[in-house]
Subunit: 392 residues, 2 copies
Amino acid sequence: MQNFVFHQPTKILFGRETISSIGSESIVFGTRALLVYGSGSIRENGIYDRVMASLTEAGLEVIEYPGVRSNPVLSHVREGIRVAKEHRIEVVIAVGGGSVIDSAKAIAAGALVNHDVWLFFKGKKSVAGKLPLTCVLTLAAAGSEMNGGMVLTNDDLRQKFGTGNQHLKPQVSILDPEATFSVPLDYSVYGAVDAIAHILEFYFTTGDPTTPVQDRLMEGLVLNIMEACERILVDPKDYNARADLMWCATLALNGLTGAGLGPVGFPMHMIEHSLSALFDVPHGAGLSVVIPAWMTWRNEQNPLKFAQFARRVFGVLESDDRLAANQGIHSLKSWFKKVKSPVFLEDLDIAPSAIDDLAANAMDLARLWRLREYDQGIISRILQGCRRSGLR
Amino acid sequence: MQNFVFHQPTKILFGRETISSIGSESIVFGTRALLVYGSGSIRENGIYDRVMASLTEAGLEVIEYPGVRSNPVLSHVREGIRVAKEHRIEVVIAVGGGSVIDSAKAIAAGALVNHDVWLFFKGKKSVAGKLPLTCVLTLAAAGSEMNGGMVLTNDDLRQKFGTGNQHLKPQVSILDPEATFSVPLDYSVYGAVDAIAHILEFYFTTGDPTTPVQDRLMEGLVLNIMEACERILVDPKDYNARADLMWCATLALNGLTGAGLGPVGFPMHMIEHSLSALFDVPHGAGLSVVIPAWMTWRNEQNPLKFAQFARRVFGVLESDDRLAANQGIHSLKSWFKKVKSPVFLEDLDIAPSAIDDLAANAMDLARLWRLREYDQGIISRILQGCRRSGLR
């Protein structure tokens, strides 16, 4: 196990009827609030009304800032920062999924500085603080509700970049599984895939082979995410299934799974971000295409961990490590198909002729994230493996 | 899954060479420090010198308060509170295991009030704050380094009581696995048993059958604790084994395992505390006697969870739930024997004639903790099951 610091002060309120606490949890930090949300689905499912009632009752003055889209964009965040500064906002309140929370983080951090917020994403400036942030989560996926990460797409440059910082962790996050009842099934699945991807990035990219505690934690989370996802497909209003998925997605990326692993990379996200940046596909849908291809490529170098994954998560009995590993990868790909998440570029309507452009785009992020193992040729090769008629 | 609040702000520094940070982590809270430790083993293994060097370098004025014993006593804490008040202590620094950290918590909380600290334990007063507390952990067992619990024995009344409160969580805990290299093997095992017991209390006393996320987390922790413990018995200086045990013991009781389970009880601890209070046996040694007997009693009422435990942790293949459950309990008892932790009252030199006194003592705690299921007859019956020639 490698040295680590684990410091996770975000307060989580989890369960039924917790949304009504957003007012009392937010007023602690100030009265002038910026309410960040998305395209308005929270108006349809009643969450907006419950949030506003709670905020009003607690005495908050609310400036609304809707319009965050999936794969949130820099231009919208820049305008949010301007609004936050203009209204001398004291607390930012995010109501939505990872896109909304990430946008709210960027606004909360950008509101305290005079330089362009994109400099944080380019690694040119470090986040030294942010306005207090409280969240109501409406999608189990990104884990942003309990970590210091944020991802934005620069709509001018077509770059989807992410960065992380201790100061970006929300002060409070409210997780009511019922808030996810109305999430469409395809996006529920993409959320599950995203959470699985976060775990697999840690699980397969750590260079430390002595992490049995973290391994079992992660294997258990993957199993539970898969089970919960299947139950949700049977009954989208299965409270416990929604709760299991929600809590697993949070735990997948709140620092716990990675603590002790040493340096890890996010190569599957690095490649997927190019799909989202160039073709605006849902993040989870892109991931289920990239994951099996990346695993197949990576497995050629290091089958041991893949074999363990195959045996513990999919019950593979094969004793040869390489064969077992391949069976595990095949099982995961089959599971993606079973829950109707895309597994080929063609499922995303991306022609194989785009692979060169995708690889070039991904290389920007590979450089920024210092994923030195990857060059454009390797990324292209992995993307070739995402074709229906892949190289293997 | 039940509603929960998860709020765990303790900062963990984990790994090699982390002890030298105790000074810089503590000076943040003030300069006048009370250094709480035990019988002086930290002087023998060099930890004392490293802590003092770090505190001195950071500029802390240190008042030493050693003498905490295993099963720490109220009288010593009361004197510590007097010393803390006399010297207007600003930060309490605990260097030791759960006994030392619990004593330091009680001193840190008691130093801020004018009433007797025992009132916290009797539930007559609530902890509303404490002096800042930083810890250097030297024993993997209690989990006190990352939670708000504390346990003390009232040496006048021979009562071992525990209480918990959000305010009691340490500000910072430093976990260096090498600090546990010199823990005697028997106490290393007792620590592992204590950590397993914490998990089993949650796992088997929740009334909610819909907690698959927490179940897998806990099963993984138990498996890892057992594996780490066996590796430590082979090589007490196996860094990774010490690290695995240390982190598992922390995670076992930092709020994560219990989040979402709803109300749980600590009946095995309730019964064990009577053994410690009346016979001063090591806590973990008492627990490995009580656990199989309690499980056997409890299994009669609810075999399903015990069968799941048997299958997932011990690989039991039996399809009948009750038989599988019994095999799991037997396997756990056999494992305690294998690692040389006591499994019978007689192993602790406690005569069966003491059972009535033990049950009467345990009832005090059963009432305080509101374990309404238990009366003296039931506790006696469970204790009878702890005899070498037990009822079953």
